[in-house]
């Protein structure tokens, strides 16, 4: 496993065309979903994915000879691009405001209903993420959702493993606090945190 991963690394580093085709087949979906979770927007996620592989191609010479899977490298690139996209959100609100609103009552096919719930949950997650600092969001998405371990997360972000731990720990405290806020009776902030409530509750059960 490790040997073949290092073989891919070597070929990617050399700029081997087929190695990139393989890299794309293997990881495009993971990169797409990482971008989607961080931005909550499908077309942005598609751009992030496409752009990530182009950047990977451009910077292939910087890949180290050894170090296992290249997924952390790709997700690291994608994280930067997602950050960029997210900071454009201020303007994007005006774009979103002009999108046709999805009609929930349309089309009751069970599969579609599931996807609508998925989409709703994805939006709720965005609201919860927005209560975290960028560094916490990124560590969370890589380490909890994309399944990188601490070392790989550190590698993806170019930070120390200890920093991954402390950011994750802060993210946990904040999310626990959000969940606790939600359990309190509605206050003036009720509107602000309702999305976090959806995120904090065991929505998973409803979705499946």
């Amino acid at each position: 496993m490790r040997d073949s991963e290092n073989d891919v690394r070597r070929r990617v580093r050399e700029g081997d065309r087929e190695a990139f085709a393989q890299l794309y087949d293997e990881f495009a979906r993971a990169v797409y979903n990482h971008g989607l979770r961080l931005t909550g927007d499908w077309s942005t996620a598609e751009e992030i994915m496409s752009d990530t592989f182009l950047t990977a191609w451009r910077t292939h010479e910087r890949v180290q000879e050894d170090g296992g899977s290249l997924l952390p490298w790709l997700l690291g690139i994608a994280t930067h691009k997602a950050d960029n996209a997210r900071r454009g959100a201020r303007r994007r609100q005006l774009f979103l405001a002009r999108q046709p609103q999805p009609r929930v009552e349309e089309d009751f096919a069970p599969r579609t209903v599931g996807r609508i719930d998925d989409a709703r949950y994805l939006r709720a997650v965005q609201a919860a993420l927005s209560r975290l600092r960028r560094q916490e969001r990124e560590v969370l998405a890589l380490c909890v959702w994309s399944g990188l371990d601490y070392q790989q997360t550190a590698e993806a972000l170019g930070i120390a493993v200890g920093t991954v731990r402390s950011r994750l720990s802060r993210a946990r405290r904040k999310l626990a606090q959000l969940a606790a806020e939600e359990r309190e009776p509605p206050t003036a902030r009720g509107e602000m945190t309702s999305a976090a409530a959806i995120a904090a509750l065991p929505v998973r059960e409803e979705l499946t």
Partner: protein, 353 residues
């Protein structure tokens, strides 16, 4: 989760598990197969192109994003590169035109006054290796939950690089103490050059100062947005260029050009993000019921800020709901990203007159 992949030492997963419980991963999505193949083709084409002609700069291959741009702060609502002079939703003639319209005389007169005052300002020197500094207060509504939730007013500082060539790092931004790099616009794999999407001071000075020519340029180059009428898109494009340090002649020409866009009206009650009242100029996006207002100082006619709000009920908020607002606080030319204007040359303070 998959520690076996790296053989890393055992880790305490308390935080990880707890976060996974509090905020489970959203379900996986996938692109339609055709899209995946198209993206893969782009990548392979790009690779082949580079390998055949390694010395030539790679062409921009990505389709421009069909969404607002990925770069904050350049503010341009870049969408697709296609140029369409499509008709506006309503309006006497049915089609948009940028000829003078007689129904917006008051706005034209007001913009002319603003323009005159602007033209008399001094033109600072800005070197390519310097940065334009902007400090502003801004807030925006978050629509991602399906309901508009107005965020708090944040303090934002921006340093925009002035190098004309394509840059992968466009500058730096600090928002409520958090500093981040501004990367190239999404899709600009080889960097973003100065232009509508990254308006540097020199690029702005290179624009035509004849209002008609400038307006023709903007109609031809403002990225098309299917969701927006052409006149509205151009109006917002001008708005996206305001708010930073700008060559006085360019600013004056932009105001005169704006006065020629049909549907531009005075907005007497306009206030910026921090409540400063001033001379307002507005335009309605009638299709979506969104009004954009620019606010200028009553005495010296400087640009104070802008505001966007709903003029009719939408599924995510009621009429009157604020979507975004900004207030310009300070502009300056500084030598380094991150440098506060304080002792820097060319500082121009706003909001203190």
């Amino acid at each position: 989760m998959n520690d076996k992949a790296t053989g890393a030492s055992p880790e305490r997963h308390g935080d990880r598990d707890e976060i996974a419980r509090l905020l489970p991963a959203p379900a996986d999505w996938d692109l339609p197969r055709g899209q995946h193949l198209r993206r893969k083709d782009l990548l392979m084409h790009h690779i082949d192109h580079d390998q055949v002609a390694p010395t030539r700069p790679a062409r921009r291959l990505l389709r421009p994003a069909v969404l607002a741009p990925a770069t904050a702060l350049v503010l341009a609502c870049a969408v697709t590169a296609g140029i369409t002079l499509n008709g506006s939703d309503r309006g006497p003639a049915g089609t948009a035109s940028h000829g003078a319209a007689t129904d917006m005389q008051p706005a034209a007169a007001l913009l002319e006054r603003i323009s005159d005052a602007t033209e008399k300002r001094t033109d600072p020197t800005v070197r390519d290796d310097q940065f334009l500094y902007t400090r502003e207060k801004a807030n925006g509504a978050d629509l991602t939950s399906g309901k508009a939730v107005l965020g708090p007013l944040v303090d934002r500082e921006t340093w925009s690089a002035q190098e004309p060539g394509p840059l992968r790092t466009l500058g730096m931004t600090r928002e409520d103490g958090e500093t981040s790099r501004i990367n190239a616009n999404l899709g600009d794999t080889n960097g973003t050059p100065a232009g509508l999407g990254r308006p540097t001071y020199h690029w702005l000075s290179s624009l035509p100062t004849d209002p008609d020519k400038l307006l023709a340029y903007l109609y031809a180059n403002t990225p098309a947005a299917e969701s927006r009428e052409r006149d509205q898109a151009v109006f917002e494009q001008i708005g996206s260029l305001l708010g930073g340090l700008m060559p006085p002649r360019t600013a004056a020409a932009l105001y005169r050009a704006a006065a020629k866009i049909p549907g531009v009206t005075p907005a007497p009650k306009a206030r910026d993000a921090i409540g400063r009242q001033g001379l307002g100029i507005a335009r309605d996006d009638t299709r979506y019921g969104i009004r954009t207002e620019w606010i200028f100082d009553k005495k010296d006619y400087s640009f104070l800020g802008s505001r966007t709000y709903l003029t009719k009920d939408a599924p995510y908020a009621k009429a009157g709901a604020l979507l975004s607002s900004e207030a310009e606080l300070e502009h300056a030319v500084v030598d380094r990203a991150g440098q506060q204007p304080g002792d820097a040359k060319g500082t121009q303070n706003k909001g203190q007159n």
